[in-house]
């Protein structure tokens, strides 16, 4: 037993001191994906899967890919490890809650490249990539405040993490640019993908009289519920127009394919390096689904807002912005840096909800 332990200890020490060999070019690669929901969820995971297929097609036969779906965040480490063990060259883990499990597995498999979506922890073989979803949320806020009759929107959140808080804040800043008194009601589904809970949340919000539903969860259930009651809603992650042809105003559509192609190409070329990507509308990593089911002037205003964001004329988190309690967050002209945004854990003024801590 003691010998075994010594051998193990030596082996670990060796592997730690070994400098990773220079990366070689390779002709083929296998890319693997871990999804939190179903690859046909009509939302977040489907957007990743569409990008996966596009990436595969781009490389002809040189790159094969696999995915594992419906992976619970809490028990994702085993799933990620199985992927790493089964010969994947690069593994994309596509949910915020996969962060720590991905870090843990990346440490054990130094030769495999890892890419984690929406997180903030990197390692020599672990990159992070994200999209400035909040830019789209701002446009949604502008639309919501322009067409809402009750002046109140319902917001279905998944978990109170910075990405979602950014979204709620940006939505409200957009809405306040049209109607300073616009209100939002927030319900947490405590899940990324739970159609039943999301539908309950949508029903409750509509019972309370909101006339716009926006969601930061992955299924089309809220869109279905809004459609059933003839209320307008925003799609999330994928174009959800099929779930609500007369309901969807627009959707934030995630377009991950160019990023996936770039990163897998780097693996083939042997040039893959750790990176931290946070792109926005202007980079095409997120696009807005067509502005539908709204008056033309509102659609024009939305397009105008989108162009202004792309051109850099409109910075969403630029002062003056107050915190929820009325204290100054950003003074006139001051801009929030990315670090602040990635740790955002408070609402802006006008959000009438208490953020669960």
């Amino acid at each position: 037993m003691k010998t075994l332990l010594t051998t193990l200890a030596t082996a670990t020490a060796l592997s730690l001191t070994l400098v990773p060999a220079a990366q070689a070019q390779q002709d083929t690669a296998e890319a693997c994906f871990v999804y939190v929901g179903s690859h046909t969820d009509g939302g977040w995971s489907q957007a990743h899967d569409i990008a996966r297929l596009e990436m595969e097609e781009h490389f002809g036969g040189a790159v094969t890919s696999r995915f594992i779906e419906n992976v619970a965040e809490a028990s994702s480490e085993g799933a990620i490890e199985r992927m790493a063990r089964s010969g994947c060259d690069i593994i994309f883990t596509t949910s915020f809650g996969f962060m720590d499990p991905t870090v843990a597995v990346a440490e054990r498999f130094p030769d495999v490249k890892f890419e984690h979506a929406t997180g903030y922890k990197t390692a020599p073989n672990l990159s992070v990539y994200n999209s400035r979803f909040y830019e789209g949320r701002y446009i949604q806020g502008v639309i919501a405040a322009s067409i809402s009759e009750t002046g109140t929107a319902g917001y279905i959140g998944s978990f109170p993490i910075p990405e979602v808080v950014q979204g709620i804040n940006a939505f409200m800043l957009g809405a306040q640019s049209i109607n300073p008194d616009f209100a939002v009601r927030v319900v947490w589904a405590n899940s990324w993908y739970d159609p039943g809970a999301e539908a309950d949340a949508a029903r409750v919000l509509m019972d309370q009289g909101v006339d716009i539903i926006t969601q930061h969860t992955d299924s089309t259930a809220p869109m279905q519920e809004a459609a059933a009651r003839g209320i307008k809603a925003f799609g999330q992650a994928s174009d959800m127009i099929e779930a609500g042809p007369e309901t969807q105003l627009t959707a934030i559509v995630d377009t991950w394919a160019p990023y996936y192609i770039e990163r897998v190409q780097a693996v083939l070329d042997g040039t893959w390096e750790t990176s931290d990507t946070w792109d926005g509308l202007v980079d095409g990593i997120l696009t807005m689904a067509p502005y539908t089911n709204m008056p033309e002037d509102v659609a024009a205003l939305a397009t105008e807002t989108e162009e202004a964001i792309k051109a850099g004329e409109l910075i969403i988190f630029e002062g003056p912005i107050n915190r929820q309690d009325g204290t100054v967050w950003l003074a006139e002209g001051e801009q929030a840096d990315d670090g602040t945004l990635l740790g955002l854990n408070f609402y802006v003024e006008g959000v009438d909800d208490q953020l669960p801590q």
Binding site: S38, H39, G154
Partner: protein, 311 residues
């Protein structure tokens, strides 16, 4: 009360009833099963099979009513398996029931794979002219889908059957003492088969409600623990049908109420609020268990025990 308040109350009640109906259906079926002395812990599995059955039936035929029938058949098919194992082969009911749940969850995921992400035709609301427009209770009682009406009819029907008919008396006798019932010439195994199949049909219909009314789509694991809540409700109701109605609506009210509290920004942690319905169930169960005499009277005395004639 202002019109707005009335509309709010009506809407809230309707949402609560949507949340309560699947629980009610699964629980009333299990109540009959347990009254016959059989403990089927496979409600969750039968429910999720009903959900995928209902969804497939709807997609194939385009008709949600045919879908509901297919859901019922799927639930019954799984319960038949349970009946053969526990009643004919006299396997352990607890272990078999647990296995049934695991089987149902796995099997439904497998056959449902091609159906994820497809949209269903929602089961239509059946309005009754005149009555539907009544204030507050109009839409709650007379403006719902067919499955809701069936759920209420089942409560009344089961109560009547169990306590007002000779067959119901025989079923309860079997649940209390199958040996004596057998000696009296009552067909124990046959009655238990029918009870288990009825339980499967109810759980299947509850599942079909999930995939045809609650959220008209199919998701793996979409029963999301409701089968277990239904099992708890049977104990909660101390095996009395009308208490199932109260229990299911109370549970529905707490789970919808917590979302209202969130939407109003009351500032209680949402994780705690989400746990509330389960917490409420546990507390009520503890309270009910306090009264041991009452529990003893209502509990089927031979619940969960296998019966083999002539042994």
């Amino acid at each position: 009360m202002s019109d707005a308040t009335l509309i709010l109350i009506q809407a809230v009640l309707l949402t609560i009833s949507t949340a309560a109906t699947p629980l009610l259906l699964a629980a009333i079926g299990e109540l009959v099963v347990e009254r016959s002395g059989v403990l089927n812990l496979g409600v969750e599995g039968m429910m999720v099979m009903g959900a995928i059955g209902g969804f497939i039936g709807m997609i194939v035929t385009g008709n949600p009513y045919i879908g509901a029938v297919v859901g019922v058949l799927f639930g019954m098919a799984l319960s038949l398996l349970f009946a053969v194992l526990t009643l004919t082969l006299a396997t352990n009911q607890v272990a078999t029931g647990l296995a049934l749940t695991i089987l149902g969850l796995g099997l439904s995921g497998l056959i449902g794979e091609p159906y994820v992400g497809r949209s269903a035709v929602r089961m239509p609301v059946l309005n009754i002219p005149g009555l539907t427009d009544l204030p507050i209770i109009g839409r709650l009682l007379f403006g719902q889908d067919l499955i809701f009406y069936i759920s209420i009819a089942l409560i009344v029907g089961v109560a009547w059957f169990l306590f007002r008919t000779p067959s119901g008396l025989k079923l309860r006798a079997i649940g209390d003492n199958p040996q004596s019932a057998h000696a009296l010439g009552i067909k124990v195994i046959r009655t238990r088969y029918l009870a288990v199949l009825f339980g499967g049909a109810c759980a299947g219909l509850a599942g079909a409600h999930l995939s045809l009314v609650y959220t008209p789509q199919w998701t793996e694991n979409m029963s999301a623990g409701r089968g277990w809540i239904a099992l708890a409700l049977v104990v909660f109701a101390s095996w009395r049908p009308f208490r199932i109605l109260a229990g299911a609506y109370l549970f529905g009210a707490v789970s919808i109420g917590q979302l209202h509290a969130q939407a109003l920004g009351i500032g209680i942690p949402s994780q705690f609020l989400s746990a509330l319905p389960y917490l409420a169930t546990v507390i009520v169960l503890v309270l009910i268990s306090q009264n041991r005499r009452l529990t003893l009277i209502n509990t089927p005395a031979s619940l969960g025990k296998s019966f083999v004639p002539d042994r």
